[in-house]
Amino acid sequence: MTKRRLAAFSLVIALSIFSGALLSSRAQAQQTDRAKQIGGKFMCMCSCNQVLTQCNHVGCTVSASMLKELDAWVARGDSETAVTSAFVQEFGTKVYAEPPKSGLSLVAWSLPSIYLLLGTLLVIVVIWRWRSRPMPPEAVGGAPGISPQDLERARRRVAQETED
């Protein structure tokens, strides 16, 4: 093997090692990100009422073991659905950080939109009803020869109704 071939071969090996290390660290980072993203969808079961990835109670063994399990599943390449069903099987439905978008839990998701819709309808009805009311007598047309008393009353009303 000539010196030139040896150098080329060494370069190829070095590049392979470097790119392998780069890919592996990237894969590890992706794996950590994925574990973090999935972990954000579960509650810590130490009854702290915090999301799994946010529980930072001193000496919380529950979150530590849950995160360890999660890391193992993510490293194995389990899907999010598989991780979810494993956690639900282990801890029950109280492990969800947000209700699943199915079954009874759909009620929780749909209620805010229903409130907003019904509320908007109600406001529109109220506005429509208020608009259809007859005008108060003093507001219907201003007489040209208005008395100082009436003018003062009107001024006071303007001040009262517009100062804030």
């Binding site: 079954g103 929780a108 003093e138 219907v140 009303r157 109704e161």
Partner: protein, 685 residues
Amino acid sequence: MDVFGSFALLLAFLCAGYAFVGGIAAIRTRHPLLIKSARQAGIATCGLIFLATASLVYLFFSDSYWVSYVVAHSNRDLSTFYKIAALWSGQEGSLLFWSFLLAIYVFSVLLVYRNKNGELMPYVGVVLAGVQIFFLTLNNFVASPFKVLASMGANGALGVFTRADGNGLNPLLQYPEMVIHPPNLYSGYTGFTIPFAFALGALLARYPGEKWIHLTRKWTMIAWCFQTMGILLGAHWAYAVLGWGGYWGWDPVENASLLPWLTGTAFLHSVMMQEKRGMMKVWNVWLVFSTFMLCILGTLLTRSGVVSSVHAFAQSSIGNYFVGFLLLVFAVCLVAYVKNRDYLKSENQLDSMVSRESSFLFNNLILLVSCIAVLSGTLFPVFSEWFSGSRISVGAPFFNKVNIPIGLLLLFLTGVGPLLAWRKTSTDSLKRNFGWPLIAGLLAGAAVFALGVREFFSLVCLMLCVFVTTTIGMEFFRGARVIRSRSGASLLASAVDLTMRNTRRYGGYIVHMGMVLIFVGLAGAAFNRDAQKDMQPGSTLEIGSYKLLLQGFDSKPEKNYTSERMIVEVWRDNKPLMMLYPERRFFQTNEQSGTMVAIYSTLREDLYVVYAGQNPETQAPVIHAFLNPLVKWIWLGGLVVVLGTLVTLLPNRRAVLVLAGAPERAAAQQPQALAPSVALREGHD
């Protein structure tokens, strides 16, 4: 002193009973002496509650370890500062503290209005006494803080037993903010009793006009201000002590404090509709009722164990009493409303969809939707357990998804509402008021986008913040410019003058500005980062532009705990910046530990460093660092909100001038006066 305290509480209960029954008799007979005696019984109730509270504080200070409550929440080494906080750290003491704060409000109301509003005050006094009776029942017969430890003697007789020392205060509560946060929050909760009493009293008395609204507005503002401070101090405490890197976790107890704040905020806006236009009377009365009931519901959630929370008191049967009281209050409100609903008829009509009135309606809608969404999310685990047998948790991700769009809508209305005229807003006025703010908002959005922000909600939030800031700035600028042209003063002095002439309006704008700052801080949460690492002296952790170098550890025995600190040198851009000391504390008395987070806070971001204990596998110390952008804006916003609220409570300088000079000016200007209908339609100063 425990006997004295118990006796004072019992007497207070009897006095409140007299104030209630005597007050009803006074309303029926209209006998002046009976009215006076009922009021004085109300004042005496408050005095006796003050004495009972002082007794409990004395028992803490004197290390009286034969009183069960003192044993459970204090110890000899606890500093005086925290012995005050121990008063409200448990169920019994916090209920007495509730009665104490309520007594301060009741005492003030009865004293301030002793010679005023003779028709209304007996009703108000009866409602206040009714609420006090409920809490005094709990203080006396359900959760007395004066119970003593008893032991059986050799002869079989029961005697008082004294412990050598107490169990100590919960470590999480041994933090300065815990001495300020609960009193603020409780002052908010209890303060909403006053508008409730006035609303119910006015309804029962069929008190004419909107006077009850004027009377209670300041009380509502005070309660709202305390509630705001309480919520923000609680958030800051969670941020600085709990060590999870956040300030709001949508915990049921946090939510419970937010619910009355939301309805209280809605009331503070819609009350203007009633004051100005005689509209929304039914709505306002029910908003006040709901706010009070939500305060009671919040207390029920905190104390009953219905929902699980780290902040809750120990699970107990006390919740049943709150359920009963809540149902009773609702029944009384409903009956009072049904019997007197004709008294609440609106007087005016609405001229246009594009008006201040409409914006208030939508503002109330958004606040109420947010309130009901938070409430139903908080209670959903309970309902899901009832219906399906399994409890489904509802955590922060759900509340964030639901409330972020609602919050942004509200922020939008914060900018829009104040610039719409009462009755009707013309197209010219819309162009004049919203042109520049819209342009500023869009430019800000483009700039933030160019800087690399791609998070949708944060982008929209920052755009809206600039939009609202511009609208508020323009309002101040326009008014101040007019004053400057007349007085020759500087623009800043003119803006101050303008604010003092109409404290309510411009104070309100300052409150809105504070809310904008809070939203800026909230927008930063989308960009939080964190890193965690096992550390040995000499090792480093990098996060953002910071490098944390662990120099070592030290340990220091304090009076009530032992502190173990990490000594961390912070570097930024390869230059040493400062030292941080994240800490763990071990409390020997109750064998508990707690964290003390080290925070380097700037307007741009917080470097938040937690000593997160030892890695269970390697036993190496763990450092958990967070980089939280813009958090400081939240606390600054809170300060501005409080400042704005205080400004709104100041007397209005212009009101005096208008009343003094109005008739002469009106007579002088008569020839060129506008027809009133025209002036009213465009009326917007």
